[in-house]
Each structure stands twice: as structure tokens, then as C-alpha cells.
């Protein structure tokens, strides 16, 4: 049965067979460059990352308040205005971006570290191991993830352990991560299922290649495409989940800024000082739309069949 969310592909449409391989080839980068959305998306995302990395160059302190310049509107010295404690909003947004993007990276890393091995083992070995791992995956998929996320972060908000103090970046990243590896597991399993009995893999096995070597060196590189696409999109989901949590007050705790809690703090007075609500949300929006466009471009780049199909549609 076809995956009902990813549309079923008709193999005989253009007499081009969909290849089970989706590794990085020379054509990948060429096709990516031809996707206008992906290029603009990459540009915006790069600028965001650069700004965030260079945040400490800002002349203002993100956490020190200055009551003489409270709630100032946009000006040349404060290009996004100041907040109710007289802190420069632009500086706080840049530092918040560090938090939000770091959480995103942690989430993607955890999802990959858990999801890829689970999917690879299940797909490669099959049998009881597959059944067991997929039941675990299904169980996680049946959890109402955002509700569980709220629940866990509300619990962990009181924790005072070293690294995990009051919902640190690490806590939030971990919590979102352990609730989002399942897509990777399913994806990797599916491509391992198709690739494990393909001729060249059987040949390596006959030559005495170990299972570990086959999985890491031969199958994984050939199924990397969907993994990269999904990882890109996951970064977007992670950013939106973190900011959503922080917006509700369960995520990153003030005074540490994150895009979500900046927006949350803005709520009290945003009708009088609208810039406090406009800019943090704009950053979330920009980062997500750019990541989505990059993901879209990568999907086309890794799937030459789909590009051909697009040409075919014109006729």
C-alpha cells in the first residue's frame, strides 16, 4: 500500500522507473541550484545564522535593564525598539535566535541518533527485531506529542540539576527530540527494506562484507536523500515547537531570551508597544519558511524522477 501522505508514484507514467537509490550525486547540487525557492530560502537562512552567530558583537547587553529607555519605539540606535526593562529588542532577538536554533539542532541530532539506527536495524534484519522496534515506534507515534511536550516541560520546569536547570536548552531539546525521531525510523526502515536484497548488496554479502559495513558504507549512503530532507524539515518543526512551548511559558525560561518567550513577554503590552510582538514572530516565520523552502528544494534535488514528472505535467 502506498503511503497516503506521500502521494503514490506511478512507475509507468513516463517509462522512467523510480530508482530506489537516493544518495548524493553530481546532479543533486545542480538540481538544487535550479530551485528558486531553495536558493532564496538558503540565503535568508544563512543571513539568520550569521546574525545569530555574530550576536555578541552587539553594543548592548541582552539581559541588563536600563529603566531610562523603557518601551522605546524603533530608532537608529535601537532598530527594533526596546522592551519594558529597557533592553534592546534586536540584541535580545539575536540571542534568542541562538537559543531557538540550538534547540533545533539538538532536536535534529537526537532524532537522527535514535531514528536512523532504529530504522536501519528494523529494516535490515527484519523479523522479531523489526516487529519489536516498529511497535515501539508506533507507540511513540500514538502519543499526543504536543500535549506530552507541554506536560513534560511543565514537570521539568522545577528541576535544578546542573545542565538541566529550569528548562535549559538541553532539557527542551531532549524532550522535543525524544518525541520526534519516529519519522526518521520509518523512513530509514523503508529504504533499507528495498535496498537490503538488491543485487550489489547481496554481492558484498557474498564477498564476506560484515552487516555493520553493509549498513554503514553501502546502504546508508544510498538512502541519505530522504533523511537529509526530513532533517531539514525537522529543524523547522523543532523551532516552532520550542517557540510554541516558550510562548505558553513551559519552554525556555526568562531572562534567557528565546523567540517564543520574547513573544510571550510581549503579550502584556503589545497593543501599546506592537514591535515587541511583531519582530520575534517575524524571526520565527522567516526561519521556518526558509527551512521549508530548503527542504522542498532538497526533495526535488534528491528525487530526479519528480523533476522529470514536473516536465511531464506540462504536456
Amino acid at each position: 500500500m502506498d503511503d497516503i501522505t506521500g502521494l503514490p508514484l506511478e512507475e509507468d507514467d513516463l517509462s522512467v522507473k523510480e530508482s530506489p537509490f537516493s544518495g548524493v550525486t553530481r546532479g543533486t547540487w545542480r538540481r538544487f541550484r535550479k530551485h528558486p525557492g531553495a536558493i532564496i530560502g538558503s540565503g535568508i537562512f544563512l543571513i539568520l545564522v550569521l546574525l545569530v552567530v555574530l550576536a555578541p558583537l552587539s553594543p548592548y547587553d541582552p539581559e541588563a535593564s536600563d529603566m531610562s529607555i523603557r518601551n522605546q519605539a524603533l530608532s537608529f540606535s535601537h532598530i527594533m525598539g526596546t522592551d519594558s526593562l529597557g533592553r534592546d529588542l534586536f540584541t535580545r532577538i539575536l540571542f534568542g535566535g541562538r537559543i531557538s536554533l540550538t534547540v533545533g539542532l539538538i532536536v535534529v541530532s537526537i532524532s537522527l541518533l535514535v531514528g536512523v539506527p532504529v530504522g536501519a536495524l528494523a529494516g535490515y534484519y527484519g523479523g522479531w527485531l523489526d516487529a519489536l522496534l516498529m511497535r515501539i515506534t508506533d507507540t511513540f507515534l500514538s502519543l499526543p506529542s504536543f500535549l506530552v511536550l507541554i506536560f513534560l516541560s511543565a514537570m521539568l520546569r522545577e528541576v535544578e540539576l546542573p545542565l538541566f536547570q529550569r528548562n535549559s536548552v538541553l532539557t527542551i531539546g531532549l524532550v522535543i527530540g525524544i518525541l520526534s525521531w519516529m519519522t526518521f525510523a520509518r523512513l530509514v526502515r523503508a529504504s533499507f527494506l528495498t535496498l537490503r536484497d538488491i543485487d550489489f548488496v547481496s554481492a558484498i554479502r557474498a564477498l564476506g562484507g560484515s552487516d555493520f559495513r553493509i549498513i554503514i558504507k553501502h546502504i546508508l549512503p544510498n538512502s541519505i536523500g530522504p533523511i537529509i530532507v526530513e532533517a531539514t524539515l525537522e529543524l523547522g518543526y523543532a523551532i516552532i515547537e520550542e517557540s510554541g512551548l516558550s510562548f505558553l511559558g513551559f519552554g525556555i525560561q526568562p531572562p534567557t531570551p528565546s523567540w517564543g518567550n520574547l513573544l510571550s513577554n510581549a503579550q502584556a503590552h503589545f497593543t501599546t508597544y506592537p514591535w515587541l510582538a511583531i519582530f520575534p514572530g517575524l524571526m520565527i516565520f522567516l526561519s521556518i519558511i526558509s527551512v521549508n523552502y530548503i527542504g522542498d528544494g532538497l526533495r526535488d534535488a534528491f528525487d530526479p524522477y519528480k523533476v522529470l514528472n514536473k516536465v511531464g505535467e506540462v504536456t
Binding site: T5, F146, L147, F151, G236, F247, L248, T271, F285, D296
Partner: protein, 347 residues
């Protein structure tokens, strides 16, 4: 098919048990335990906490607590006054008999609490989804039929943006524009209300007032879904348009609109319907932001308040309901798919 549904139902029951165990363990292993949220926990004397623990049965081993949570304790002797002596039968009936306990926050039965809120969420979310679908389907079809037209390109761009706008930001911006900035030219008051289901103090049912209060929350909730479904509808329609059976229908001399809307659409809608079933649970979690922003007394807001004050009985119940909805909507999607598409058969 019947056998398939039966097998899936049995699996579902198993999965629900497993999930209930996980959720129960999470609550009880959380820092401070289930009593952490009881009133002003930091000012409660330690002896009092011990007493409460005995009264709530929290001194029992976790598996025993889980069993009691499931089937109740009215058949066994419990320590009612917390003095360490088991004197009379308990009063809990267990969730299997529909006893989800009392809310820590309001001291009302959890089910009563949910019963008050659920209709408001269903009311808001059904209108949100109806709006989303009624807009997304025509947009998606038109976009596909006129692929690469100006309309299509505009829609595709906007749907990308629509999916990237966080609901909580969209809501704030809408409140800013329609509540803070735009004024009613006749009365000088805010153009749209910033929250609530009806105007406070309004007597009886007033349709206009209801719609006025629905507009912003529905727009906030629906935009992402409109984008998502119109994109989905577009690609689903494109998929069908290039199928051989449509070419055949056209070759037989059927008019274009009939080919598209009768033969094409009915096939293109199948994946959308199953997708709708799969999305059902997310519609409810989406309600959290909308209800939070617009002071809507529904389930999402209830869950937010419960998490804020560590109201475990409410949290547990909503989580269990959430998991059940997910599992059943997955089942529903599979069944619908097989029912609507005769090519799909499960053994």
C-alpha cells in the same frame, strides 16, 4: 475486512494499555511526584505530606497504584484518614469504570470539568476545519487545473507562507490589527472582540455576535490548515489529471468539466479524506494556542491551566483521551481508505 478491523481493534486495546502505563509512570516519576502541585506545596509540613500520601495511596508500590488507578479501590480496605491503619473500603472506581478522579484545581470530577469544556472546543474546531476545507478544496482544484497560471503561482507561494506562520503569532497580529488598531466607525470601540465566545452579559443566542467572536479565532486556527490542504489537494488533483482513465474519459468525448469534476475530483478526494481522519488529533492540539490567545473556555485552555498548576488528574485524562483519539483516527483513516478506494485491500 471485518477480520482486519477486529484485529486492529485488539491491537488498539493493547496499545492503549501500554500508553496508559507510560503516561502513568511519567506522572508518578516526575519530580516532586503527583502531590507537587497540591496547593502551596512548598509550605505544606512534611508530616502533612506523609498523611496525604497515605490518604491518596501514594505509599503503595507503583504497579499497585496503577492497578488501583485502572480498576479502583472500592473493593479493598484503604487508609482513609492517613493514620496508617486500613479501616474501610475506598471510593475510587478506576478509569475503566469511568472514574477519572477529581481535579486538584477545582475539586470537581475531571469528567465534569471536561464535559463543560469539550463542547466549546468542538464548536470552535469544527467551524475552523469546515472553513479550512471549504476554502482549500476549491483553491487546490483551481490551482491544479490551471497549473503554472498566475493564480497557481500566487496560491503556491501563499500556502508556503501560510504553513510557516506560527498560530500564536498570527493570533497576536490579528488582535493587534482588528482589536487595537481598527476601530468601529460608528461607536469608536474596537472593531472585533479580542476573546470570548459571546459578549459578556449578552442574553440569549445572537448569531451575529457569535460570528463576530468566531472570526478571529477561526482565521487564526484555519490559515495553516487552508495552506496545507490546498497544497495537498493540488498535488492530489495533479496526480489524477495525468491518469490514463481521465485521458480515456476525455477521448470518449466527455466534456472537460465533467471529466475533471466527476471522474477526477472523486478520485482526488480520497487521499484528502483519509488525511483529514489522520489530522483529527492535531486539530485538537492546535486548539491550545487559539483558546489560550482568545480566552476560549475549551479543552486546550483547560489543559494549559492544568499544566500550569500541575493538576495531574486532568492532565492524565486529557492525555489518555488524546492518545485514544490518535489511535482511533489512524484506524478510521485506514478503514476509510479501503472503503473509498476499491483497489486497496487489507488481508
Amino acid at each position: 475486512m471485518t477480520y482486519y478491523i477486529l484485529r486492529r481493534l485488539i491491537q488498539t486495546v493493547g496499545l492503549l494499555f501500554l500508553l496508559s502505563m507510560i503516561l502513568f509512570a511519567l506522572v508518578n516519576l516526575s519530580p516532586g511526584g503527583p502531590l507537587a502541585g497540591q496547593g502551596q506545596s512548598r509550605h505544606v509540613q512534611p508530616e502533612k505530606v506523609e498523611l496525604l500520601k497515605r490518604q491518596f495511596g501514594l505509599d503503595q508500590p507503583l504497579p499497585v497504584q496503577y492497578a488501583i488507578w485502572l480498576i479502583g479501590n472500592d473493593w479493598m480496605k484503604v487508609d482513609v484518614d492517613g493514620d496508617g491503619v486500613k479501616e474501610s473500603n475506598g471510593t475510587r472506581q478506576g478509569i475503566l469504570r469511568g472514574d477519572f478522579g477529581f481535579s486538584f484545581r477545582t475539586r470537581k470530577p475531571v469528567l465534569e470539568e471536561i464535559g463543560e469544556r469539550l463542547p466549546n472546543t468542538i464548536y470552535l474546531m469544527s467551524i475552523t476545519m469546515l472553513t479550512a476545507i471549504l476554502l482549500a478544496i476549491p483553491i487546490g482544484i483551481l490551482s491544479a487545473v490551471r497549473q503554472y497560471s498566475k493564480f497557481d503561482i500566487t496560491v503556491t507561494t501563499f500556502s508556503f507562507a501560510g504553513q510557516a506562520i506560527p498560530e500564536f503569532w498570527l493570533g497576536l497580529i490579528l488582535i493587534l490589527v482588528f482589536y487595537a488598531w481598527l476601530k468601529n466607525p460608528f461607536t469608536g470601540e474596537a472593531l472585533m472582540p479580542s476573546g470570548g465566545i459571546t459578549t459578556l452579559g449578552l442574553q440569549g443566542f445572537n448569531l451575529g455576535d457569535r460570528i463576530w467572536h468566531l472570526a478571529l479565532p477561526v482565521l487564526t486556527g484555519a490559515l495553516g490548515w487552508i495552506s496545507w490542504y490546498s497544497r495537498f489537494m493540488r498535488s492530489s488533483m495533479l496526480e489524477v489529471i495525468h491518469k490514463d482513465y481521465l485521458r480515456t474519459a476525455r477521448a470518449k468525448g466527455l466534456p472537460r468539466w465533467m471529466v475533471l469534476y466527476k471522474h477526477g475530483l472523486s478520485n482526488a478526494l480520497i487521499p484528502l479524506i483519509t488525511l483529514l481522519a489522520l489530522d483529527l488529533p492535531y486539530i485538537f492540539s492546535g486548539a491550545i494556542f487559539v483558546e489560550y490567545l482568545f480566552a476560549w473556555p475549551g479543552m486546550g485552555r483547560l489543559y494549559y491551566q492544568a499544566a500550569e498548576q500541575r493538576d495531574y488528574p486532568v492532565l492524565m485524562t486529557v492525555l489518555i483521551i488524546g492518545a485514544t483519539v490518535i489511535i482511533f483516527s489512524n484506524l478510521l483513516a485506514d478503514i476509510l481508505y479501503a472503503y473509498l478506494d476499491p483497489r486497496v485491500r487489507y488481508e
